[in-house]
Amino acid sequence: DGVAILPAPQNLSVHSTNMKHLLMWSPVVVPGEIIHYFVEYQGEYESLYMSHIWIPSSWGSPTEDPECDITDDITATVPYNLRVRASLGSQTSAWSTLQHPFNRNTTILTPPVMEVTKDGFHLVIKLEDLGPQFEFLVAYWRREPGAKEHVKVVRSRGIPVHLETMEPGVPYCVRVRTLVKAIGRHSPFSQAECVKVQGETLPL
């Protein structure tokens, strides 16, 4: 009846960076044919309490590419089982299941892209929008001996944020790291960027 003639997809793996999770596998090749893949997931809740339940992925059921963005499926910090099967017309392969369940707390966190600018005497930072789960820990200081580092937690979502009013002639430096409360982790700090307000003019 057309079941399991197709080989099951192999080499399943998850690539996860900044809470974006991509499930990948080796393509099933039938010359001249387009293979469709169906991806399903099961959180720890389902595997413990409803082991028969597998949920079709939001974006990968079906898909023609040997990969599927499972970011919208992995929405809790628990282990998730993932499986894929191939389909060609009435033929479907067996399920191929990810060897180890995936937990989003293993995602790779990288420092955000930042743009440090000034508007007159005002130090302003603009940070990339990495999504609602991200906060940014912004550290800034005056580049001079004994300067104290100030810290601000920002959820800017791509809008310029005011950091400090600068004194002319003194360089101000900024570095940033991402914070993801949902997994209790943060990225390394970015490189520091410094700006200075020119001029020795001191308004009275």
Binding site: D119, V124, V154, I159, L202
Partner: protein
């Protein structure tokens, strides 16, 4: 109550609560095809978990398409339903009912009051927390901050000369923007924000103020 043939009219449509700072107004649209006719409406409300529907006497046989249920829904930690039916001559519609209304989560937080004062190089912004709706003007005021302890303000500042905008979240009620450009028009608007489930927001009006001309000549060091 005058008896009418139920279902003789189509139901009112788009029945929802419009809630701002816990002022909860039920509003709806006339039944299809009956705009402009002399239809009247009757409203009832229900406290979730209680036993029966209750009348709102001031909204019996009314011709307007809204009804203020702020008093009846003032306990913002409860949930409510409301329903309205249309009456025209001897016919009336079936009830049109809202979904479950939860003021604590659904009310829109109005913008704070804003006062701006300026000198040559600074603007001071004084914010007044939005107030919870109150039945009588002489009743004591309750700030929305007392209901939402994590209420913050998103202050956006637009420098009309550099065409640059920046914002900052503040929790206290005074903010001084210093070392600004003299003789420059700055525009400010402020939005109240409560972290939590998405909530409609009502940004303030945009207020603009010009910093004063630089009265003194700059001193070279």
């Amino acid at each position: 109550a005058v008896l009418c043939i139920s279902g003789g009219l189509p139901k009112p449509t788009n029945i929802t609560f419009l809630s701002i700072n816990m002022r909860n107004i039920l509003q709806w649209s006339p039944p299809e095809g009956l705009q402009g006719t002399e239809v009247t409406y009757t409203v009832q409300y229900f406290i979730y978990g209680q036993k029966k529907w209750l009348n709102k006497s001031e909204c019996r046989n009314i011709s307007r398409t809204c009804c203020d249920l702020s008093v009846e829904t003032s306990d913002y930690e409860h949930q409510y339903y409301a329903k309205v039916k249309a009456i025209w001559e001897t016919n009336c519609s079936k009830w049109a009912e809202t979904g479950r209304f939860y003021p604590f989560l659904e009310t829109q937080i109005g913008p704070p009051g804003i006062a701006l004062t300026t000198d040559e190089r600074s603007i001071s912004i004084v914010l007044t927390a939005p107030e919870k709706w109150k039945r009588n003007p002489e009743d004591s005021s309750l700030s929305m901050q007392q209901i939402y302890s994590n209420l913050k303000y998103n202050v956006s500042v637009y420098n009309t000369q550099s065409n640059r905008t920046w914002s900052q979240y503040v929790t206290n009620h005074t903010l001084v923007l210093s070392w600004l450009e003299p003789d420059t028009l700055y525009c400010v608007h402020v939005e109240s924000f409560v972290p939590g489930p998405p909530r409609l927001a009502r940004p303030s009006e945009k207020l603009c103020v010009r910093t004063l001309k630089d009265q003194t000549s700059a001193v070279k060091v």
